[in-house]
Amino acid sequence: MSSRKGQKKAAQVVREQIAREKRRTRTIWTSIGAAAVLVIAGLIGWAVFSSQKSKTYTAPPNANHEGTGIAMGQGQVTVNIYEDYQCPACKQFQDTSGSTITELINQNKVRVVFHPVAFLNRFSSTEYSTRASAASGCAADGARFKEFTDALFAKQPPENSAGLSDAELIDIGASVGVSRDAFSSCVKDGKYKSWTAHVTDDASRSGVVSTPTIKVNGRVLQATERTPEGIKAAVAAAGK
């Protein structure tokens, strides 16, 4: 009787051990499975991103050599301006200092490279930053980049709206003297959207994380320097 009881007990211990072993194996395999799911998800992200990245782009005429912005002027000092058409601080900069920049270009003191980046697509429901930037490429096609840029900042839509429609962009283009037909098809076809992506990518790569960013011969201006006097001083200092 008592030896039987002992046998029963021993069998139970063995059963429990087997069960525990099984459970451990199961835990290991579930963990491996879950880890695989996470790794695969990451790889999918990478693959999707790689496929989205367009390798080719068409830069508009008057783009700089690298195709990362529109060049204006022939001066010795290079001023790089990174702006998003949706960015209120950029509009403010244009309002206060735009004429100074134009003046410096006309005086042959600076060569301005204007980079219309699309950082702020999330502030419109229609990716206005990208559409506006691509349209500015179309304006460069018609040799009216500067005029178009000024007009867009003057009519800047509020953040978190739908932005200006393509039709409105086309009207603005025509109003600054671009041929309506060519401009219209350029905007509607999104001819320069891949260029916008290239411009934006290059800006991020070169350390630009916010707009407006103004670089005078490579030096980033402080916010307090983004005034007519500040820019003139920075250009004068860089030209020496």
């Binding site: 525990r20 199961r26 990451g42 999707v48 991103f49 502030f123 991020s204």
Partner: protein, 174 residues
């Protein structure tokens, strides 16, 4: 350990714990799903948000920015179904610690960025001040959820429990 479970009511914590765990699991799942979904639509922007922290080269930041939303979504799905909860909670906790460190470092370096935790990220809107402290506190809250699941991964309505058959005896296997 036993301080939180006074002897006067021994059964209470034992009854409550699985349900707290289920709530933590589903809550953390919602956080990850929301975080991932808000970024997955614009992977380039997600990369820029990572780049805005200025802690790694741009090319690496774009890869991290593209991978992260998908991993977050996968974490959310694994938590919802309750598979390998302890491992997933561990990965979640590790990620959250990295996020908190990133935000703290951006704060310490005086950067003015949005954490990019739930979409957006990078540059702030006009006139907007960074809100690093609320962002860190929020992530610490999520970290508590992950920590709970790390310690007590077994919760009701989870594949883990279904796979294991009957619930293990107290203290065993967990």
């Amino acid at each position: 350990m036993t301080v939180t479970a006074p002897n006067a009511r021994p059964g209470r914590w034992a009854v409550l714990r699985p349900w707290l765990g289920a709530a933590a699991r589903l809550g953390l799942a919602a956080v990850w799903l929301f975080a991932g979904a808000s970024k997955v639509g614009d992977l380039a922007a997600s990369g820029r948000a990572v780049n805005a922290y200025q802690v790694m080269p741009y090319d690496l930041a774009t890869v991290i920015g593209a991978v992260l939303p998908f991993v977050e979504l996968a974490l959310g799905v694994l938590l919802i179904v309750g598979l390998a909860t302890r491992l997933v909670a561990g990965v979640s906790a590790a990620l959250l610690v990295v996020f908190i460190a990133g935000i703290a470092s951006a704060w310490a370096r005086g950067l003015a960025i949005d954490c990019g935790c739930f979409g957006s990220g990078g540059q702030l809107a006009a006139g907007q001040a960074p809100s690093y402290l609320p962002e860190i506190l929020r992530d610490l809250g999520f970290l508590v959820l992950a920590g709970f699941l790390l310690i007590w991964p077994r919760t009701p309505f989870a594949l883990d429990g279904w796979l294991a058959g009957k619930a293990p005896e107290e203290g065993e296997d967990e």
